[in-house]
């Protein structure tokens, strides 16, 4: 039967070397450790790379930003409050320029418009406005850095003297003519408002008196001899005035201060005074009011607070996460692996602990520990409930894998419990744990927001602040000044987004079942 295929010539057939036909590919790649394998799989997933990058950016922001701003967390100012974000790059655009589009009635508009007329520091941007006949409203852009305008301030003789010398040397006018007490507005809420330097009427509400061509009528204090009322003022005078002839022919000088029991009271432009105070008196490196992210309702600089708040939140979250992970994982592992009576008892203990109202624990801690150690209170609050979550998810994983075939196989091969737990079950559970742990940081900040919103904890004692405190602080002015909550919320969103992507990437990377599939 050997003549089967006579046509196939002998030379077509070669002798196949037995080893050629091998069902395995040759191991061309070098052996790779589990970690390298996981890392390579991690890099495969573009999303998690993006997440990692964002996290790095946020961490860098938290570390570097506080060094490149002129403010500290403890900085506060009672006049520059809810000032809008401003950046020098966008100064003359109408975006990010520290101004808000404003519509208001005549008195409010004139109140701001007159500021620019007197000092050149325009509260109404470039003094441009439009008037709507039908709604009788003026619309204009109000500069939140200049809208404070003038304030009354008490000075001792030395401070008054020092301010005058600064004015003459720097050529920047801070002190403006004083308004006598009797010509200030009578309405109780406006008497101390230094921006009313013109004639006003009305006892319950102030309205402005205009002359025939619609301008305000200044009512400065004046005296026939120069320097009689203002202890010999010898510095800059408005538009270089050196006495003028008033309507009944006398040569009169404006008074630039009012004598009081503690020295003098002056009418000063707060923007200029702020620069003088910080550069000459405090010399704390602040050169001008400049808040890239604006200020909160209590006058704190949002950029600095956000950065140091982020720093605090990161450190605190990592500490809480680590502690929860360690305690939770161990507790859950024992609980899940041994099952039976130990599981029931341990489950009951964690039930009791999780059912205890943390609110009471916090109130009690606060009462007994006094006001100072808010952070310890916060740490205990998160620790008490944090690890239980971790423990139950670990327990869940253990139940899931405990009766898997390979575990049974390992046990039949004589592996002791500890080895089974660490070598076999734990690596499988690591996926969910990592994802869970990755989300602890953002969710910790999230719950810390509601805790400070409800007033249970208050981190603003001392110069510690956190992202949660900032969001809570902005809540009451959400409709009128949304930017206060916007910046910390954007930070939180980026944080959650990045940690999620990163967490997903991690879970795929450490998922033992995926090992080696994508090679």
């Amino acid at each position: 039967m050997e003549q089967i295929y006579p046509e196939i010539s002998k030379d077509k057939l070669e002798f196949a070397e037995k080893q050629d036909v091998s069902h395995d590919k040759s191991l061309k790649t070098k052996p790779r450790s589990a970690l390298r394998d996981a890392f390579s799989r991690f890099c495969k997933n573009k999303g998690s790379i993006a997440g990692a990058i964002i996290i790095i950016i946020l961490v860098l922001f938290a570390i570097i930003a506080p060094f490149c701003t002129q403010y500290t967390v403890a900085y506060q100012d009672s006049y520059f409050t809810t000032t809008l974000p401003k950046s020098h790059l966008f100064e003359n655009t109408s975006f990010w320029d520290g101004c808000e589009a404003k519509e208001s009635g005549r008195t409010s508009f004139l109140y701001y418009y007159a500021m620019g007329q007197e000092t050149g520091h325009n509260a109404v941007k470039n003094q441009e406005f439009t008037y709507n006949e039908e709604t009788t409203l003026y619309s204009y852009r109000l500069d939140s850095y200049q809208k404070n305008g003038m304030i009354y301030k008490n000075f001792s003789a030395e401070e008054y003297e020092a301010l005058q010398t600064y004015q003459t040397e720097s050529g920047k006018q801070v002190i403006y003519p004083m308004v006598p007490v009797k010509s200030r507005p009578q309405a109780q809420q406006d008497t101390n408002d230094a921006n009313y330097y013109f004639q006003t009427t009305g006892t319950s509400k102030t309205s402005i008196v205009l002359d025939e061509d619609g301008n305000v009528i200044p009512v400065y204090a004046s005296s026939t001899t120069k320097g009689e009322l203002d202890n010999g003022y010898h510095s800059l005078r408005i538009e270089g005035e050196d006495g003028f002839v008033n309507e009944d022919g006398e040569r009169v000088w404006y008074a630039y201060a009012r004598r009081t029991s503690s020295g003098v009271e002056c009418r000063i432009n707060y923007y200029e005074y702020y620069i003088y105070y910080h550069t000459q008196i405090l010399q704390d490196g602040i050169t001008e009011p400049y808040f890239p992210f604006g200020t909160t309702g209590s006058g704190q600089d949002i950029l600095t607070c956000l950065a140091s708040g982020a720093r605090f939140s990161f450190i605190f979250a990592i500490a809480v996460a680590v502690v929860n992970l360690v305690v939770g994982a161990i507790y859950g592992a024992i609980e899940g692996y041994y099952g039976g009576k130990t599981d029931l008892v341990m489950e009951r203990i964690s039930d009791i602990l999780s059912a205890v109202p943390t609110m009471i624990i916090i109130t009690l801690l606060k009462l007994h520990m006094g006001g100072s150690s808010q952070i310890l209170v916060l740490f205990i609050a998160f620790f008490l409930t944090g690890w239980i979550g971790m423990a139950s998810s670990t327990r869940m994983q253990f139940y899931r894998y405990k009766n898997q075939e390979y575990v049974l196989a390992a046990r039949t091969l004589g592996a002791k419990d500890r080895r089974v737990i660490w070598k076999h079950i734990f690596p499988n559970a690591i996926g969910t744990l990592i994802t869970g742990c990755a989300l602890i940081i953002p969710s910790m900040i999230y719950s810390e927001t509601s805790l400070s919103y409800l007033g249970i904890i208050n981190l603003s004692s001392g110069n510690i602040t956190s992202v949660g405190t900032l969001i809570a602080a902005g809540q009451s002015a959400l409709a009128t000044a949304p930017f206060i909550t916007m910046f910390p919320s954007v930070f939180l969103i980026l944080l959650m987004l990045s940690f999620n992507l990163f967490g997903n990437g991690l879970r795929d990377a450490f998922n033992p079942t995926l090992r080696g599939t994508e090679g």
Binding site: S104, G105, Y111, R258, G263
Partner: protein, 924 residues
């Protein structure tokens, strides 16, 4: 496939089932107590506009609140949040009204509308409302109320009110005088301990009201009274009664004698005998009588040899004595004096080395005659006939001016008495739960338990959500011609809106008609024509704890606070404008106890702060001094008169402050042990706060900077630190009073705008329980000399220079001297200079002197007075632009309606698609 889903469905089913189960129970459960089961009862909402669908012709005033009241029961309401419903459900005997100038045509125009331009600015009138007549019956009431002859002559103690005869509840049941008496009996019911009971023995003090409430046991008074320093003894011998106890003749009647070892006696300055002995005074008690015992006749017969007592031997003789008798004391702390006890008392008295044989009288009390259980007819309120009520007061109120016309006091102190609906009230009584003996009531706490005799009645109430009030057609007031053309609002709908942003969206959407102006919206609506600013009476400041012995013992090394110069330096160095700008956003600086809205002469609008005396008081408190020639000087400048000086005063005098600081330092270091000052340690002053939040922290930081500036360049530099402590929580006031915290900022009082003299109780009257300085300033022991002015008219005590205790001055100024005299204070003078008793100018001068005295103690540094702003929607307009002290801006009664409900919905819909943000910015 199907099998699988079924299981999930099953699960879902259970979830929904269990939810509905609870729900069902809830619905079923709440069916009965919801009250308004009929669907029509609660306002339906029109889908498109979100407005409550109602009769378009009706006028509904829609408002909001952050917290609904829990009960609007006149007897138990707690905070002013509870009064938002209560004010509509009650009427008053006398009511304020504007003063209309007859010359300008009186109150009504021809067409019946109100003649607004006839209003006398700042004027007011008091008119009868639920009552028709008020008579002063002090001289004609029964003698049992114990009014003395001169009280009867002065009058103002007992009043007879004649009610209208057409008073009805909202369901038509008639009301008469017996209902008022029943209500007062329930108000003071000892089993209920109703919260507002104290109004009727503190503010309008009815005879024996307090005794009835507390079913007070016997009152014991010191047998011995004091003429200045020296005690007045009773020159009579005690007689033994049949039960072995002793009694003595005391101004005309035999009184039982009692002793107490655990309650305070005036001879030991309020300490009890036991504590006095134990508090280190025992040295007296160990020494036997060192008089010449050798000569028998030199030895007074009462001297009893102290058994086993040698020189310096610390025997426990007295300790056992106290233990023996203290054990026999009654649960109120008193034991009847028997002859055996009398001998022991003599030994104790003798150990003082007081040779006077009747010295033991200083250790005894006499029983002042109140029986243990106290029945109702001892309480000073009864109804002689169906429509007449008689009220007998402990201290007078001058409700009538000459010629029997009503004075403002009638409508201020005596406007109304509480009234509850008898049958409904009885049904609302709740038994005490097990383990508790307190009866409670839920009268006036839900729709079903509410009755009204006021202009409006409750027609819908949902706990935690909303309530509706509608006109009470049975109210007598609508028929009064005084109310013609008023009360144009048919219904009030109020909803709980806790979130600030939702409140503003509701207001700018036209759903609610008023809103408070907060800081976030101040810039936009400050000058709007819909905004009105109202001055508040609140004045706030810093309390400085100055009790030396506590300061020495609480280990804060802050004895320096007891030095007045140190406290005065704090007050003079504080820049109040800067402090208010930093820590409060809408308040103003204030320097006196009374802010700008206090009236000393209410009849003709005399503002206390504008008087010469008030201004001069503040000048001297804040570092000014008056030269011989009448000019004022602050140490550097000289001002021509007090007006110019007052204008230049801003409460600051930093040069003087630094000098005072140095003087305080020398005083402190020279008597270091007296002040318990340890130079090696820092002076740590604790800053007390009610909570640890942003505001308290900002104020604390401000004062840390303040102390650094204050002490820089002085010998205190670097030695003073301020420590934050908010652990006391809402109990911070007691923490301050006990000296645990020494510095409490932003604290103060409000109210009493028409009675500044009464308002002083917060600073000088320990009985009122409000004094922060009660534990270290005994106003009853400190004397004050003042000459009452004569230029305002003749009155009892005018022109005399008197010296009496600060508390005595306060009591005379408010006409309560006689009531306080019954207590254990040494009230020597009992002038009655209360409101209406003497000319207002004279009272104002004494008031200014007392304010100066209080301020110059510098226990309290006043910093801030408040004002508030509200926006009223375009649907209504306030009756008058200017704030009248009695009628406000015209209030609810005179509110002018611009749009009815239907017209308002159309108007809002037409304005910018229902968004009134710009509309409300308009200014003219």
């Amino acid at each position: 496939m199907a099998k699988y889903w079924k299981r999930i469905a099953v699960f879902f089913g259970t979830a929904v089932l269990s939810a509905s189960l609870v729900l069902g129970a809830a619905c079923g459960g709440e069916g009965d107590n919801g009250g308004n089961t009929d669907d029509g009862g609660n306002p339906a909402v029109d889908g498109k506009t979100g407005f409550v669908v109602g009769d378009p012709e009706a006028v509904t005033y829609r408002t909001y609140t952050t917290v609904l009241p829990s009960n609007w029961n006149e007897l138990t309401y707690e905070d002013n949040n509870d009064t938002q419903i209560l004010n509509y459900l009650v009427s008053s005997f006398f009511e304020y009204d504007y003063e209309f100038d007859e010359a300008k045509g009186g109150k009504y125009k021809a067409d019946g509308s109100i003649n607004a331009d006839a209003i006398v600015p700042g004027g007011f009138s008091v008119k009868y409302s639920a009552a028709t007549k008020l008579e002063d019956v002090t001289s004609s009431v029964d003698a049992k109320w114990g009014y003395t002859d001169e009280q009867k002559a002065a009058g103002g103690y007992a009043w007879k009110i004649t009610l209208r005869e057409d008073l009805k509840w909202d369901d038509g049941t008639p009301i008469d005088a017996s209902d008022f008496v029943y209500t007062m009996q329930e108000q003071l019911n000892p089993k209920f301990l109703n919260m507002r009971a104290n109004t009727y023995y503190n503010n309008t003090p009815i005879k024996n009201a307090r005794a009835y409430l507390y079913q007070q046991g016997p009152i014991y008074n010191d047998l011995v009274t004091f003429e200045g320093e020296d005690p007045v003894h009773v020159d009579a011998e005690p007689t033994v009664k049949e039960d072995g106890t002793l009694s003595i003749q005391y101004n005309g009647e035999a009184v039982d004698l009692y002793a107490s070892f655990t309650t305070g006696i005036s001879v030991f300055f309020g300490e009890s005998m036991a504590t006095y002995y134990r508090a280190g005074y025992s040295a007296y008690f160990r020494k036997p009588y060192t008089g010449d015992t050798s000569d028998p006749d030199a030895l007074p017969d009462y001297v009893v040899e102290v058994p086993g007592q040698e020189e310096g031997d610390p025997s426990t003789y007295y300790e056992d004595l106290y233990a023996k008798w203290a054990a026999q004391e009654s649960e109120r702390g008193y034991v009847a004096v028997t002859s055996e006890l009398l001998d022991d008392l003599k030994v104790i008295a003798q150990s003082f080395g007081d040779p006077n044989p009747t010295a033991w009288q200083e250790l005894v009390f006499y029983f002042a005659g109140l029986s243990d259980s106290f029945d109702w007819d001892n309480v000073g309120m009864y109804s002689p006939s169906k429509y007449e009520i008689v009220v007998c007061l402990e201290s007078p109120i001058m409700c009538l001016k000459e010629g029997d016309s009503l004075s403002y006091l009638a409508a201020y102190n005596f406007a109304s008495l509480p009234l509850v609906k008898k049958d409904l009230y009885e049904s609302c009584k709740q038994e005490p739960q097990t383990g508790s003996t307190l009866w409670t009531t839920n009268y006036n706490s839900s729709l079903a338990t509410t009755a009204s005799w006021g202009p409006y009645k409750l027609t819908q109430f949902q706990s935690g959500k909303s309530y509706t009030l509608e006109k009470n057609t049975n109210w007598y007031g609508y028929a009064l011609d005084d109310n013609k053309g008023q009360y144009n609002i048919d219904a009030v709908y109020c909803e709980v809106i806790a979130d600030v942003n939702t409140q503003w969206m509701s207001f700018l959407g036209g759903y609610i008609d008023d809103i408070g102006l907060d800081v976030a919206h101040k810039d936009d609506y400050r000058n709007s024509k819909y905004t009105s600013f109202a001055p508040g009476t609140g004045t706030f400041g810093i309390q400085l704890f100055s009790g030396l012995d506590t300061l020495k013992s609480n280990g804060h090394n802050a004895g320096v606070l007891a030095i007045q110069d140190f406290r005065k330096a704090i007050s003079l160095y504080l820049d109040r404008d800067e402090y208010n700008q930093t820590c409060f956003t809408s308040h103003r600086s204030c320097y006196g106890i009374m802010g700008p809205s206090y009236y000393y002469d209410v009849e003709n609008g005399g503002v206390y702060r504008d008087t010469k005396q008030a201004k001069e008081t503040l000048l001297s408190v804040y570092g000014f001094s008056k030269n011989a020639d009448g000019k004022w000087t602050d140490g550097t400048n000289v001002y021509t008169d007090y007006e110019e000086a007052y204008e230049a005063m801003n409460g600051m005098n930093r040069t003087l402050a630094k000098e005072l600081l140095e003087q305080a330092y020398t005083e402190l270091t020279s008597k270091a042990d007296y002040y318990g000052y340890d130079a090696s340690k820092k002076i740590s002053i604790t800053y007390g706060a009610s909570a640890d939040n942003e505001n308290t922290r900002r104020s604390y930081d401000y004062f840390v900077r303040f102390f650094n500036d204050l002490t820089s360049g002085t010998s205190f530099e670097g030695k003073v630190e301020l420590v934050f402590d908010a652990s006391a929580g809402s109990g911070w006031a007691d923490a301050f009073k006990d000296g645990e915290v020494e510095f409490a900022a932003g604290t103060g009082f409000s109210g009493g705008a028409f009675d500044p003299e009464g308002f002083l109780q917060c600073y000088v009257d320990p009985e009122a329980g409000l004094m922060y300085s009660e534990n270290f300033w005994d106003t009853d022991a400190e004397d004050f000399t003042f000459t009452m002015p004569t230029e305002y008219g003749e009155f009892d005590g005018a022109g005399q220079e008197l010296t009496m205790s600060v508390l005595n001055w306060y009591c005379c100024l408010n006409g309560v001297a006689s009531t306080y005299q019954a207590g254990e204070y040494n009230i020597t003078y009992t002038y009655n200079w209360g409101a209406g008793a003497i000319p207002e100018g004279a009272r104002m001068e004494l008031l200014a002197a007392l304010e100066k005295l209080v301020l110059e103690k510098y226990y309290t540094v006043i910093t801030t007075s408040e004002y508030s702003a509200t926006l009223l929607g375009a649907k209504f307009t306030q009756f008058s632009e200017d704030y009248n002290i009695f009628m406000g801006f015209g209030g609810f009664r005179y509110m002018i309606v611009n749009y009815k409900d239907g017209a308002w919905q159309d108007f809002v819909g037409a304005t910018n698609g229902g968004n009134l943000t710009d509309f409300y910015k308009a200014e003219n």
